[in-house]
């Protein structure tokens, strides 16, 4: 079963605009990660935010985490056509029996038009 739920499921924007994707999850977490997946390829790690952090930046990426609402957002600023991909949030819920495997949402499909 999947833990996270990304919103929206699909997003289409023009190059240069900002893209915001949201993720909600169900159980307590140690941290939350965002991954990108280009069509037909594996996942690429973008950014990790720990449960005691509220915001993190990496280049054009900004991630926020609100553990009280069990939600996170990924903002991509000044988007480029090359940002076209599916974006997944993944949580690492370390609990009894878990070995730290990632639990993914269904993803947001981002399309950036030139």
């Amino acid at each position: 079963s999947q833990q996270g739920e990304e919103d929206p499921q699909a997003l289409s924007i023009q190059e240069g605009e900002n893209a915001t994707m949201n993720c909600s999850y169900k159980t307590s977490i140690n941290n939350l990660q965002w991954y990108r997946q280009n069509s037909g390829r594996g996942l690429v790690h973008l950014i990790l935010i720990r449960s005691n952090e509220r915001e993190k930046h990496s280049g054009r990426l900004r991630v926020t985490l609100d553990t009280s609402k069990k939600s996170s957002s990924l903002l991509i600023t000044a988007s480029r056509a090359a940002d076209t991909a599916s974006y997944f949030c993944a949580t690492d819920a370390w609990y009894g029996g878990s070995q730290g495997n990632l639990i993914f949402g269904k993803g947001t499909k981002l399309s950036v038009k030139p």
Binding site: G42, G97, L102, F104
Partner: protein, 118 residues
């Protein structure tokens, strides 16, 4: 250095056939994970190895699925008597550290093997 590699990249199997999917993790990575990704979905956890020990196989959907990592490096995911519902992309990921603790290590994913069962 080289990333995680998987082979074959594509596999078509007739229903009832056995298949074996290979994963070569990044050299020195202790942890290895297998995930299954159905079309339009996020990856779902199958199993986890710490070196050669399979510590978690709770995600394997049935006893037709079997994974091994005998020398703590290369891993093979075997599916016996394949069914149409096994059609998916199978992703392998490795990470440097031990999973299941307070620290989290980035998982590096391979390109996946797309399995189609006809």
């Amino acid at each position: 250095g080289a990333g995680v590699s998987q082979s074959p990249r594509y596999k078509v199997a007739k229903r009832g056939q056995d298949v074996a999917l290979r994963c070569d993790p990044i050299s020195g990575h202790v942890s290895l994970f297998w995930y299954q990704q159905a079309l339009g979905q996020g990856p779902e956890f199958l199993t986890y190895f710490q070196n050669e020990a399979q510590l978690d196989k709770s995600g394997l959907p049935s006893d037709r699925f079997f994974a091994e990592r005998p020398e703590g490096s290369v891993s093979t995911l075997k599916i016996q008597r394949t069914q149409q519902e096994d059609s998916a992309v199978y992703l392998c990921a490795s990470s440097l550290g031990l999973a299941g603790g307070p620290l989290t290590y980035e998982q590096y994913f391979g390109p996946g093997t797309r399995l189609t069962v006809t």
